[in-house]
């Protein structure tokens, strides 16, 4: 192909002609495609072609415009589709359409063992997978009537708080990008990269870890994990204050967010909003404090709240929560002591002795040698536990944790078999997204973007 441009037979004139032609084509493509329907004319706008739509609207301007935004749009926070009814630039009605990322995780869980379920639920909310894993595993443990060892529980807290920082960084980064603050995005993703490197070092994967298992953790942390955690904490200590310098006092940032996306506390409760949205309205409801789980009552930290109930308050809370998370991470390192990371019951503990081989992580050669060569019983048990899983006594439980987005609950039903009867995740992204119309109707179209960014829905969790 590269020889074509050097072809001596193509003259300068021909090249110029073709350039003109392509510019004409471009101008033509700037006319939005129009078709007539019973509901009125419908335009397919692809960018740079707004004039044709606006021209049509000025002809008979008392007609409302309904704008479809998404599901593939850089400002809708993932595959979220917004249907906005506009009067000029004012939004008179807003509705969100979801389901574009529905993957049937809850249904799939019913066909796998309880341990395999972790691998599914971790894929729901891909920005805070360790919270979903914890909520699910706490539920399975409650059904079984077991408690994870102390080191495993503290390890979960450590992982969750690192994950909370990473998730809030993405909330700032993508929210900033949607409002045009591109430096917020580059800075946020830079810090998140450090967090994900740390999570990769601790769990083996950047996301979709499946590291927290019913009964404890899949394996212990690497030996020098403290150094790596402290590297991350020091990094955050150095760069987190920059967010205040970059954004908090910045006039454009404030004007885009202050007084925008207002939702008072009664609205939050009626619509079920939890997490930063509820705390920005003044209610200090954080389940780490109000209904402590995972030994959170042993930690010292604050629950930041605000009373403005707007997007800017939610932004400030997220930054403040990152500082609190770093405090918890430090305390976690002090509390972590050597010990088991999995319950002693060999039926619940996945019967693997993982070690790093030449071809990656897998069952240790020693263990394989033992189960294959020495003990037929070991082989049978290994096989049966891996293929069948363990039985969970019949009943149902609801366990909830405070995820970066709010109350993340797992409703698990067992019929006494080796597979769940039902796994339901109460995803804060799903519930909180219902507040979008209340936050943005009556405001400007640009404020819808700010409101959605402040809700911080993760569509993987929302649609499951």
């Amino acid at each position: 192909m590269s020889t074509d441009t050097n072809d001596p037979q193509v003259s300068e004139d021909e090249l110029a002609e073709s350039r003109v032609a392509s510019e004409d084509e471009l101008a033509e493509s700037r006319v939005a495609e129009e078709r007539r329907t019973t509901e009125g004319p419908v335009y397919t706008v692809t960018g740079g072609d707004w004039d044709s739509v606006l021209g049509a609207v000025t002809d008979d301007h008392d007609e409302r415009i309904v704008i479809n935004m998404g599901p593939q749009h850089p400002s809708t926070h993932g595959v979220l589709r917004l249907v906005l009814e506009l009067e000029g630039e004012t939004v008179t009605q807003a509705r969100s359409v979801i389901g574009y990322l529905h993957t049937g995780i809850e249904k799939n869980c019913e066909y796998r063992t309880w341990t395999q379920g972790v691998t599914f639920v971790t894929r729901c909310d891909y920005l805070s997978p360790l919270f979903t894993e914890t909520a699910y595993c706490l539920g399975v443990e409650k059904l079984l009537g077991i408690t994870a060892p102390r080191r495993a529980t503290l390890g979960r807290v450590l992982l969750m708080e690192i994950n909370r920082v990473a998730s809030h960084l993405v909330a700032l980064a993508t929210g900033g990008m949607e409002l045009g603050a591109l430096t917020a995005m580059t800075a946020g993703f830079r810090e998140r990269e450090v967090a994900l490197h740390l999570l990769e070092y601790l769990t083996g994967l950047r996301m979709n870890h499946a590291y927290i298992r019913p009964g404890g953790l899949a394996q212990d942390f690497p030996e020098d994990y403290r150094d790596h955690v402290m590297y991350f904490v020091n990094w955050m200590d150095k760069y987190l204050p920059d967010y205040d310098k970059l954004l908090t006092g910045q006039p454009i940032w404030r004007q885009r967010m202050e007084g925008v996306g207002y939702l008072p506390v009664d609205g939050c409760l009626a619509l079920g909003a939890t997490g930063p949205i509820l705390r920005s309205a003044g209610l200090p409801w954080d389940m780490r404090k109000t209904e402590p789980y995972c030994l959170y009552d042993e930690f010292e930290f604050e629950v930041p709240t605000a009373t403005e109930a707007d997007c800017f308050a939610r932004y400030r809370l997220r930054v403040a929560e990152m500082h609190e998370s770093l405090k918890i991470i430090r305390q976690c390192l002090d509390k972590l002591e050597p010990g088991p990371v999995m319950v002693a019951d060999k039926k619940v503990a996945w019967p693997a002795q993982l070690s790093l081989g030449s071809d990656g992580l897998g069952n240790s050669l020693e263990h394989v040698r033992k189960i294959m060569g020495q003990s037929m019983e070991s082989l049978i048990h290994h096989f049966k536990l891996v293929t069948e899983g363990f039985k969970v006594p019949a009943g149902q439980v609801y366990t909830a944790v405070e995820s970066p987005r709010g109350e993340l609950g797992a409703h698990l039903v067992s019929d006494g078999g080796t597979r769940p009867m039902r796994v339901h995740l109460r995803e804060p992204s799903f519930i909180n997204l219902q507040t979008m119309p209340a936050m943005s109707e009556g405001g400007m179209i640009a404020d819808v973007i700010a409101a959605v960014a402040s809700i911080d829905p993760v569509m993987g969790g929302c649609d499951r």
């Binding site: 979801i98 389901g99 529905h102 049937g104 809850e106 249904k107 799939n108 066909y111 796998r112 409650k142 059904l143 009537g145 409760l269 009626a270 619509l271 079920g272 939890t274 209610l283 409801w285 109000t290 209904e291 293929t387 069948e388 899983g389 019949a394 009943g395 149902q396 439980v397 609801y398 909830a400 109350e407 609950g409 409703h411 039903v413 019929d415 006494g416 078999g417 080796t418 597979r419 009867m421 039902r422 339901h424 109460r426 799903f430 519930i431 997204l433 219902q434 649609d463 499951r464």
Partner: protein, 257 residues
């Protein structure tokens, strides 16, 4: 093999199916309030261990039978704050003229309280739980469906998780309906957050919430047929072939009950 040495079906060392006379799920209608003494069935009974039906059972577990799980009704005192709550609830129901049989059964299991509610009373009960001074369940955490399988008559259950932030209490309400008549009142007018959650339950289980402002599909496409999370809806997995042998999709693999 002589006649005497062949074990009776269901007896020791027999792999044949045991005649199932007493341990099957309760008769149809057992979830109706008119037969209050009978347990609420939540689950299907199981036979054998490997779900083998069409060939001879060589596992030795063919004679195993487990009855369907029925949550045990709790008796006073329930323990903890459950008794205070039950007293307050009883008083509030009496104030509002709601008959006590609106609640069909109370179960306390694993530190969680479940109220099995008559379906016509769910809206009034939610209003009482939200508004009464001593109850104050401000937040409806979660609404979801559970399908207990084809063997159970009222197999579709709708589960409500309520949270009282004032008293820091959580309770669970459960309503059961049948596939033939999957109607129950919507609680959106009391808890607006139920809007999307009821739509999801309709989408996934086909439960119809009467009085919902716009009960449409939410996760599946609008023109989808069927309700994917019902137990009789296939998972739709793909069989995998490896070295000539075929691994069936997950919903067709044998289950170890």
């Amino acid at each position: 093999m002589t006649e005497e040495s062949t074990p009776e079906p269901g007896h020791e060392q027999s792999s044949a199916e045991r005649p199932s006379d007493e341990l099957v799920a309760e008769e149809p209608g057992d979830l109706q309030g008119d037969r209050p003494g009978l347990p609420l069935i939540a689950g299907h009974e199981r036979a054998g261990m490997f779900g083998v039906h069409d060939s001879g059972d060589t596992s030795g577990f063919g004679g195993l039978r487990l009855p369907a799980y029925a949550p045990a009704p709790a008796e006073r005192p329930y323990g903890g704050w459950f008794d205070d709550f039950a007293d307050d609830l009883g008083a509030s129901l009496a104030d509002r003229g709601i008959p006590g049989n609106a609640i069909r059964q109370v179960t306390v299991d694993r530190g969680e309280m479940t109220l099995y509610v008559h379906r016509d009373r769910i809206l009034e009960l939610c209003r009482t739980l939200r508004d009464s001074e001593g109850l104050r369940f401000e937040l409806l955490s979660s609404v979801s469906g559970v399908d207990y399988g084809e063997q159970v008559r009222e197999r579709l259950h709708v589960v409500y998780h309520l949270l009282s932030m004032t008293y820091r209490r959580r309770i669970r309400l459960e309503v059961s309906v049948s596939v033939e008549d999957p109607h129950l009142p919507s609680v959106v007018e009391v808890y607006p957050t139920a809007d999307w959650q009821e739509r999801e339950t309709w989408d996934m289980y086909g439960v119809i919430f009467d009085g919902h402002p716009a009960l449409t599909r939410i996760l599946m496409p609008d023109d989808w047929d069927g309700h994917p999370q019902r137990k009789d809806y296939p998972l739709g997995g793909i069989a995998v072939e490896y070295k000539g042998a075929e691994i069936p999709p997950p919903d067709q693999r044998r289950a170890y009950s």
